[in-house]
Symmetry: C2
Subunit: 342 residues, 2 copies
């Protein structure tokens, strides 16, 4: 086991000073041709690599960005990570991933850990509990310390920072409009409780689409789910008691539960009831019937978030600050869970 090579060791070995070694390796013109060549050869031969930690301390930059997501098993978030990773790596950054498990406390803890020098900036999507509490002091604090943040997907209005979101209202509208176009009139909505911003916005889209087509809004056809755990049973109970010809679900799980329930009732998807989900999930593609969905382009969101953050990180502080909000447009991917246009 040989310990890592440092400038000091090279200096001692070659009988020059540390500064000479450092300069030689950085191709400074201060150092004579001969010594420079000798030092570089030595460093190359023994595979010298500068210590990142020391560099971080010196430069006050870690070249690391932290990303905090509510849950990793949600396929959407993994595609976001993938996008962040891609751009970050291209720009020479590392990615530190933390999970908040949708818990406010864990989110705060994670941010505190990472804020003490571990990362140069944050990319995050708020925990459900955080949105419920509406307590964003931890975000305000790190931003106030001059650490750039990018919020994505689950964002908070009251925080001023860069944001990357999808147009949830239009996304929801697109889905419902499609259902209307193929002839559905009794369209159910399976959403989340309102404090989850995306659930609220997609609900808006749902209502807008109905209104624009002169269909009255029936609150009884709207289900708001709080706990993922019980969603399957809730959806089952909800659908069994209602006569619908279309379902718009704000995520993949709800959509699939809806399909199952409908099939269990002896009805067919899409002949009797058309179903649209809201997701990028693998599940939708491979499910039978494959699901028509509003796609979120998680990868794109991750890429945009990373670009936004790095751009801010590499700007000189003198340049004036303003915050952008990037809206990633949604797409409607028509598959087999909806009737074809008639």
């Amino acid at each position: 086991m040989k310990p890592k090579l440092t400038l000091k060791k090279i200096a001692k070995e070659l009988d020059v000073s540390i500064s000479t070694v450092s300069k030689a390796l950085r191709d400074s013109s201060e150092i004579g041709e001969e010594t420079r060549a000798k030092i570089k050869a030595f460093a190359k031969h023994y595979n010298y690599k500068p210590n990142n930690i020391a560099l971080s301390l010196k430069n006050r930059k870690t070249k690391t960005i932290g990303i905090i997501i509510p849950e990793i098993v949600h396929h959407f978030f993994t595609t976001v990570i993938s996008g962040v990773e891609k751009v970050a790596n291209e720009m020479g950054y590392n990615v530190l991933v933390c999970l908040s498990d949708n818990s406010f406390d864990k989110e705060v803890l994670n941010m505190e850990m990472l804020a003490n020098g571990s990362t140069d900036g944050f990319i995050l999507s708020l925990a459900k509990e955080t949105m419920q509490k509406g307590d964003y002091h931890h975000l305000a604090e790190v931003i106030n310390q001059g650490m750039p943040c990018v919020l994505f997907d689950r964002v908070a209005e009251d925080i001023s920072c860069d944001k990357v979101i999808i147009d949830d209202v239009t996304g929801g509208k697109k889905a419902v409009q499609h259902l209307i176009d193929i002839g559905c009139r009794k369209i159910a909505l399976i959403s989340t409780v309102d404090y989850v911003s995306v659930g609220k916005l997609r609900t808006h889209g749902y209502k807008q689409a109905l209104a624009e087509n002169g269909i009255s809004i029936n609150e009884d056809l709207i289900l708001k789910i709080e706990e993922m755990e019980d969603s399957e049973k809730e959806i089952e109970a909800f659908l069994k008691e209602r006569e619908v010809d279309g379902v718009f679900a704000v995520n993949e799980h709800f959509a699939i539960s809806a399909v199952k329930t409908i099939q269990d009732q002896g009805k067919n998807v899409p002949e009797d009831v058309s179903v649209i989900g809201f997701t990028d999930g693998e599940l939708s593609k491979r499910f039978i019937p494959s699901l028509t969905t509003v796609s979120q382009h998680g990868m794109r969101m991750g890429e945009e978030s990373a670009r936004l953050l790095i751009e801010k990180l590499e700007r000189t502080p003198s340049e004036e600050d303003y915050y952008k909000t990037i809206i990633v447009e949604t797409g409607l991917v028509v598959r087999d869970s909806t009737k074809s246009r008639k």
Copy 2:
């Protein structure tokens, strides 16, 4: 925007030395009651938190572990990350996630980045390309530098380090034994090319089960897939030409493609053909019919890996070194894609 508080600033503010501040905050008995109280009160009030980078440099520990996985969109790997994260956080560690995209070069690059001080140790699953090349010099190097590594799932025999694997042979055997038990005799295997260790081992299990039950092995019933991209078409072509009553697929995607193909042929799953997959995937649970699978317990693997690594990290170097291999047992989860025992 207020910059971060440091020991130096506290010292200047309170007109004491830096060392006094440091000692006071660490409750050293060297410092008088009064000064100590004053310093602690000040630090608390202004929310002082020590700088992680400086600590890392001083202690030569980063309290960060790096995990490198081949692809994040594979659900199995995300559950592993989740397990690693959980244990790491409990022990006060951060997790740095890198993706190799199954590329040898990216794997090497990632390791080099992280090895220069960014992490204290590694947890990784080898890229497909790495296994194909059989080139593990990058691993040997970091291990030789005294950086602990834990390999999981896709491991290499020739590297000596801790490992966490599942018993792929027994897992495969279990699956095929189950198929035999429910009456299948013409059992197809859909596997990967042999240099992916898990594919090879599960193939062993398949053959063992057949042999032990006196069923002759028909190589024509074994399909080895190289490229994920074309898997769907390959599986379709393969199954269309063969008469089988059972299929064992070494992963989720293959299993689902198999089910689709079988249904397209007008046959039923599980009545005509029973299908078993090998995975933890969400897909299997929610697919219709839900898939009987050999479960890999990714979360457990992640937890065990993290525990193993941290244990090694926190051991004094004097204690003698030996390498463990933990085998996480597989479970057979019977769902609807296999006939019931007759």
